[in-house]
Point group: C2
Chain length 355, copies 2
Amino acid sequence: MTEATSPDVAAGKPILIHDPSLRDGHHAVRHSLGAEQLRAYALAADAAGIPVVEVGHGNGLGASSLQVGRARLSDDEMLSITREALTTSKLGVFMLPGWGSIADLDNAISRGVDLVRIGTHCTESSLAERHLGYLRERDVEAHAVLLMSHMASAEQLAEHCARLAGFGATGVGIMDSAGHYLPADVTERVTAMCAAVDVPVMFHGHNNLGMAVANSIAAADAGASILDACARGFGAGAGNTQLEVLVPVLERVGYRTGIDLYRLLDAADVAERELMPAPPTVDSLSIVSGLAGVFSGFKTRVLDISAREGVDPRDVFFELGRRQAVAGQEDLIVDVALALRGSATGTADRRASRV
Amino acid sequence: MTEATSPDVAAGKPILIHDPSLRDGHHAVRHSLGAEQLRAYALAADAAGIPVVEVGHGNGLGASSLQVGRARLSDDEMLSITREALTTSKLGVFMLPGWGSIADLDNAISRGVDLVRIGTHCTESSLAERHLGYLRERDVEAHAVLLMSHMASAEQLAEHCARLAGFGATGVGIMDSAGHYLPADVTERVTAMCAAVDVPVMFHGHNNLGMAVANSIAAADAGASILDACARGFGAGAGNTQLEVLVPVLERVGYRTGIDLYRLLDAADVAERELMPAPPTVDSLSIVSGLAGVFSGFKTRVLDISAREGVDPRDVFFELGRRQAVAGQEDLIVDVALALRGSATGTADRRASRV
């Protein structure tokens, strides 16, 4: 960010890189990152000049719980450690209304957070109104993101983004939470969103179909100016857009990020060594959940229930996709598995319809 | 393949998938695959309906040697085992003139090979003339591929492809050996190649910049009708195009492969379990070699020599790229490392020019 206005990087259109490795990556390690891990990566990311470093429980402020998993560190600890490590990078946090509250926002502000992102399901932007309003009152930079965005049309997303900007968001965007998009899908949606708002538009990809980098470039080409990416793609399942791949590819096609390539690669090496057992790869069930358009966080329960009921977990994912299951509707997995078990048709028939 | 003419798959343009997992993947495991491994994957690929299964030493027929590594099994053993496992998939082999000879072709034909691919450096198509002529005489299907193709212009590649077709190749194409391409690069080159020949055009991607699937789709959109891909991307460094991702993405955008999705995912699971210690991931040096346009097979020697001479291996890769190093020129690594060590300028200057 500090270099974003220097002459040699102003030649291309600037893209602001937002790095949620220490938040979204938490989903891959059951929210278990410790103080030394946060510090090591935050220092490396700061040294590389990454504009925003987001930290927290995978589900954001206030989400540490038995239901979605307890984080090793408290929100306060995570914010303090990361705040101390960052010199030029902004400190970001994520919050899902319902998990987090106004009290959590207050607390994050008192810990020195620079940028708060409020997330909602793609068709429920109104849930963010109160929180965005509060952040505006407190004069804290606030962005808003729509999750599972492939479930809404370009027109719907544009409308919700316009509403979020009206609520005070100074940046709006979409997450491809299920890793379902191909570049043309992103182009259509981001184009519509950019036409609907005057604030920066962001895109957050997942790599279930091997398209996270290509989708992110498509978003930039369609007008997005904030892109999310994680070191080594650190994230659940097939992982997020790989940060240290995205940045040089952006630079090569003419965008400017202000990030130092060698220090960025160093940060990614730190992430691989310190944060994760192994970098994410695209396994077969990640591909299926991406094709089906289902959040890959369902994977463990789909596998367990499918084994118990003797059905093919791939059939379960595709059926969940048809029923438009979203996070919080994990009870649907049992319904679907029972329905498939009871179905008289063989799997061969079902298979043909997937391809 | 067997389903390629059935009514429901004829709706979209057919794409022939060529699977070199058991040949190019060999680079990732020092040519060490054994009989049971070849058999397990070939059976699974055949069951999925993959049109061509290519087998052999990573560098093709006749290449097993001290210089590039000895294969665990002989060419004869690999061909016999795979031939026996395949019922509908064609048996393919690869050959680089110089490593392999007419005698190797004879032998492969006697072992029942269906399709031979002759590879040359992108500007040396004439090296394939004699071998393509011989295969035409013997009435064996023969394709020709240009390696390190990013080093040649679209016009040059088109010209070489036309020559190869003139030599008798019934399929011609390019490999992105260094994983350097972005989709627009592929579109430009494949479009020119398709305009220059009447035979099917192929594309073979590597994933150094996270673009292997997107590049392959760009190739299809530009007119390519043969695409290479490996199970889990099995291959050296960042790996090849991931087969079980590419196929459903192709189907989703309207192409038809005739491959059964579930059996394909099963085959990829077999590959992950039986063939490789772990699926390929995109590490920092793979990114650098892709950006620099250098074959990632240089990695181990670049690391060794850089450590010995006290220089940054990333600088070495970028300088090798500027010098247009190709396989066989490994001696350049020492020259480059010594030149960098002797250079008075700090690495900071060199870094800035990379980004």
